[in-house]
């Protein structure tokens, strides 16, 4: 809140004739502002920054800050402790302090090991205000019994000593959480077990303690939880249950004996506690659906991998087989086509041979048909020379030329001149090509 300045100058009276709507008359604006950098220090700056960053006005900011302050004081009040005493506690003898529940004496059963030293101090003060022997005397009940007050003092003394408090917390049965029954587990596994681990966690040297979690916890979380608990580092100790050592000065042996017994008892209890925790953990782990789930997942993962591998293998084999079959088929087809080709070739060759034979026959026949170019009966020498030439030409020309010549001769038919010219032309061509020597041909020269 901005401080209020008080100025002792009296304001002027309203001039007559002054009037404005709602008694307010705007006259003018302000001169332009200068931009400057304010220094980021001091509580007032922080308030300014808060207002600016959260877009608050002065009054809003004041209200919010005021609210926050109120909340703080409420918290403190809530911490106040008011638990009524169990009447049975009043009848306790102060010397039996070891058997008392210190938290109950101080009225801190709601908090137990969670109670802060601050709370313990407050609780102690509150109890003392009510149970101080002088208060009792004032109210007329002077029965000279300050047992409960002594109990309070003892409880506070013990609770405010961190070492002794831990000793008591170690064996504080009221803070102990029993493992849940089968029925409870069936209702909700995590809900049943979580408070147990929360309670056990108070003994841990390492804080914070990982919590049990729920169905949705990740594998990592679950693993860290079990790792933590199987390697649990506990400060729990059992000195509190030690048998009292008589310090009457005599019986040193007796004292040593008791000390030894106590040490053994502590060790045994600690071992038992460790075993208990381990067994409990085994049980929890055995019942933990998440572990099974993760295992299944892992197995499913492995199966999937294996299957994938097998599939891959199979696929490769099939591929190979198919390739082989294809290759075989290709080979077969090639062979077949080659055979067909061969046959076709053979046929063609035969046909060509036949054609050539036929053509040769035509060739031979052509000269015979024209009576060996002789008028009348040919002489043997005439026939010889003509046939000799025919044989020579036929021997020198190839199949195609043969066919051409045969065609020409067929066209010529029985016209002796045409046949002769065809032969002569062929003879001349062969001579020109150098296949037949000049003069070799006799009849077709």
């Amino acid at each position: 809140m901005a401080p209020v300045q008080v100025v002792n100058i009296s304001l002027p009276a309203l001039p007559s004739g002054w009037s404005a709507e709602k008694d307010f008359k705007p006259v003018g604006g302000l001169s332009a502002a200068t931009q400057r950098n304010i220094e980021a220090v001091g509580p007032h700056f922080l308030a300014h920054a808060r207002r600016k960053r959260h877009n608050r006005t002065f009054s809003e900011d004041e209200r919010i800050q005021a609210k926050q302050n109120v909340a703080k004081t409420e918290d403190e009040e809530n911490m106040d402790i008011s638990e009524d005493e169990d009447p049975a506690m009043f009848t306790r003898e102060a010397k039996d302090w070891k058997g008392q529940d210190h938290y109950a004496v101080l009225g801190l059963t709601k908090y137990r090991w969670r109670a802060t030293p601050e709370q313990i101090k407050k609780a102690h003060r509150k109890k003392v205000l009510r149970h101080h022997p002088d208060k009792k005397a004032a109210s007329g009940k002077s029965d000279e019994n300050d047992n409960f007050f002594k109990c309070i003092q003892k409880a506070t003394e013990l609770m405010l000593d961190p070492v002794r408090r831990r000793q008591f917390d170690s064996v504080d049965e009221a803070a102990e959480m029993d493992p849940p029954s089968k029925k409870q587990i069936s209702k909700g596994y995590f809900k049943a077990w979580a408070p147990v681990f929360h309670a056990e966690g108070r003994f841990s040297n390492k804080q914070p303690v990982p919590q049990l979690g729920n169905d949705d916890s990740t594998q990592e979380e679950v693993e860290s939880f079990y790792n933590f608990w199987y390697n649990f580092d506990s400060w729990r100790s059992f000195e509190y249950l030690d048998e009292d050592i008589p310090d009457d000065g005599e019986g040193r042996d007796q004292k040593r004996h008791t000390e030894k017994k106590n040490a053994n008892a502590r060790r045994k209890r600690k071992q038992e506690d460790n075993v208990r925790l381990r067994e409990m953990l085994d049980e929890v782990m055995a019942g933990d659906e998440r572990i099974k789930k993760f295992r299944q997942q892992a197995r499913a993962g492995k199966d999937a991998k294996r299957k994938a591998k097998e599939d891959e293998f199979k696929r490769a084999a099939e591929e190979k087989e198919r390739a082989r079959v294809e290759a075989e088929e290709a080979k077969k087809a090639a062979e077949e086509s080659a055979k067909a080709d061969r046959e076709k070739n053979k046929k063609a060759k035969e046909a060509a041979k036949n054609a050539a034979k036929k053509n040769k026959r035509v060739l031979k026949g052509s000269v015979k048909d024209v009576n060996y170019f002789a008028d009348g009966e040919p002489t043997a020498s005439q026939v010889d020379s003509v046939l000799g030439d025919v044989e020579l030409i036929m021997g020198k020309i190839d199949v195609d030329e043969l066919a051409v010549l045969a065609e020409k001769l067929t066209i010529a038919g029985k016209d002796g001149a045409a046949v002769k010219s065809a032969w002569s032309a062929e003879g001349a061509r062969l001579v020109g090509a150098g296949k037949v020597k000049e003069g070799e041909l006799k009849a077709f020269a």
């Binding site: 100058i9 006259v27 003018g28 400057r36 304010i38 980021a40 001091g42």
Partner: protein, 565 residues
């Protein structure tokens, strides 16, 4: 879980101190449980720890021990290195390091070549590394003193520290294991050291902070408006400081020695170093007593020297230097477009501020109403050497719980750059005889701002007019005398209230003039002798909300004027 007494939950929580890191001296401070700033002494009992590091055979010496090494081991002693941080070699003035390890160029930064290991070959240690070592020692001292690991700090820097220097400082601090929460300006830290005292009240004031250090002097005008600080002007003198005064003492004794023995001890480096060290002590002693002694064994040629000097002598000799200090102060007031009459207080900070004469001279410059906060003029003044560290500690206690992000967002220009009123806003009073103006929001008030004031209604009651205006302050010369200074043209700057209690022999005074009316409001039917409460709220866009009501009355007259933006 568990109780704290079991030591189960020893979580690393932030534990912050305030550090004033100077060229010559550094200080560390912490706000104690009862809310008071406490300057921490190091293991030698020093609250002003010399910013000096010295090395012998690989052994590190710090503070006073290191400073003593300036005589015998000057080559391996690093001093006056703060201003070199984050700068390049070209832009530094190595003069102060004349008698210690010399700065050298090393790539883009500055380094000192010192033998900081047992080996004979010198190492090159960058100025950042030296700063880290220095801060580490300061941190260790604070940790030892407080019994709790210190891991964060608010550090003060001069107003003209560039971004590169800031970054280098933050990086060096980080290397020393100190998380820098914020860097704050030295003059503002000094103002805050005064304002954080429980008895201080939040007022609007204009403050001149004269930070007179060992080797440099910085003066700033800081406007404080409703607890928010704005620096209006700064002036720096890098050659003026405690060392300038030491030089006078040195010269004085050197001359005396010269006269006696015909040897000038200043010609010998070791003699000069001895004289410097003792001279500084003598000068400091003169600030407390009227006589001071100086004795140096084997000053030159094995001749011992002992002599005394009194304060008057010293002040006579230092006249010129003192004039430089006061000149710097006057210069900055002028630079801020202000008049000495506008200044409400002058805070003397830094080691040289102990010198009584400087504060007395300042007393003469400023009018009677101006508070001069220096040890010689005010009994309750805080030790000037501790102001910056205290302010830093106070800020550290405020921001210690904040997240880094939170701090960064808060010191972002988006938040810190704000419009400031250029003219004062106030209420005008018209009576039958004359018109007066009462400022309600002073000029240079950061916006948004809200002020509430109560005014007396006329005795007879009835209807009242409230006229909200912009005002300007004028300096009026009422009784010009031959000696009077020349009138200065007044600017549109403000001061606090008009000084009604001004003494008669004063020649110049501040008068307020109405410049521009803003709004008029009427409160009707006011009871006789009642008071009228006026609330003015100015938005950043220069819009106004005004509410006027009779104190105790239920209805208020409200009105708003839209901003120009």
């Amino acid at each position: 879980m568990g109780d704290a007494a079991n030591g189960v939950d020893a979580q690393a929580e932030r534990f912050a101190i305030g550090i004033s890191f100077g060229n010559s001296y550094s200080s560390i401070a912490r706000i104690s449980a009862d809310g008071k700033a406490e300057v921490i002494a190091n293991e030698e009992g020093d609250r002003q720890i010399p910013s000096v590091l010295s090395y012998i055979e690989g052994e590190e010496y710090h503070g006073t021990q290191a400073k003593a090494q300036l005589i015998r081991n000057s080559g391996n002693t690093v001093a006056y290195f703060r201003d070199f941080l984050g700068k390049d070699f070209k832009s530094i003035d190595p003069t102060p390091c004349h008698a210690s390890a010399h700065p050298q160029q090393s790539e883009s930064t500055i380094a000192f070549s010192i033998r900081d290991t047992p080996s004979e070959t010198p190492n090159s240690a960058t100025v950042s590394e030296i700063t880290t070592r220095h801060l580490r020692r300061l941190k260790q001292s604070a940790t030892d003193f407080l019994g709790k690991e210190v891991n964060a700090a608010v550090i003060t820097v001069p107003t003209n520290f560039a971004d590169a220097q800031r970054e280098a400082l933050v990086a060096s601090a980080k290397a020393a294991g100190i998380d820098v929460l914020q860097l704050i300006h030295e003059p503002v830290a000094a103002v805050m050291a005064y304002d954080a005292r429980p008895e201080a009240t939040v007022t609007d004031k204009l403050t001149v902070v004269a930070d007179l250090g060992g080797t440099r002097s910085d003066v700033a005008v800081v406007a404080c408006r409703g607890g928010i600080y704005t620096i209006l002007a700064t002036a720096h003198d890098y050659e003026l400081g405690g060392a300038s005064l030491d030089q006078i003492i040195i010269d004085h004794f050197a001359k005396e020695f010269l006269k006696k023995h015909q040897i000038d001890p200043r010609e010998d480096a070791r003699g000069l170093a001895k004289l410097k060290l003792e001279g500084e002590a003598t000068r400091k002693a003169l600030s407390l007593s009227t006589n001071a002694q100086l004795s140096v064994e084997s000053l030159a040629n094995g001749i011992d020297f002992g002599s005394t000097v009194n304060r008057t002598r010293f002040e006579l000799l230092s006249g010129k230097v003192f004039a430089q200090f006061t000149g710097l102060i006057e210069q900055v007031v002028k630079k801020a477009d202000l008049d000495v009459l506008d200044i409400d207080e002058v805070i003397f900070s830094g080691g040289a501020s102990h010198t009584p004469k400087i504060a007395q001279l300042a007393r003469n410059i400023f009018p009677e109403k101006t508070a001069i906060l220096a040890p010689s003029t005010l009994i309750s003044a805080i030790n000037p050497s501790e102001l910056a560290a205290r302010g830093a500690a106070f800020q550290a206690s405020l921001v210690q719980e904040f997240d880094h992000e939170d701090i960064e967002q808060s010191i972002h220009p988006m938040v810190t750059v704000t419009p400031h009123l250029s003219k004062a806003i106030g209420v005008e009073f018209t009576s039958s005889t004359d018109t007066t103006f009462q400022p309600l929001l002073n000029a240079e008030t950061a916006l948004p701002a809200r002020r509430i004031a109560q005014y007396v209604a006329p005795k007879e009651g009835g209807d009242v007019l409230v006229r909200v205006c912009e005002g300007a302050r004028d300096i009026k010369v009422t009784k010009p005398e031959p000696k009077a200074k020349e009138e200065k043209p007044a600017d549109d700057e403000d001061s606090d209230f008009s000084d009604e209690d001004e003494e008669e022999e004063d020649i110049r005074e501040i008068v307020w003039k109405t410049e521009k009316p803003v709004a008029e409001l009427a409160v009707k039917g006011v009871k006789a002798g009642a008071k009228i409460e006026v609330m003015v709220h100015v938005n950043p866009d220069l819009g106004l909300q005004i509410a006027v009501r009779e104190v105790g009355g239920s209805t208020a007259v409200r009105g708003a004027i839209n901003g120009s933006a």
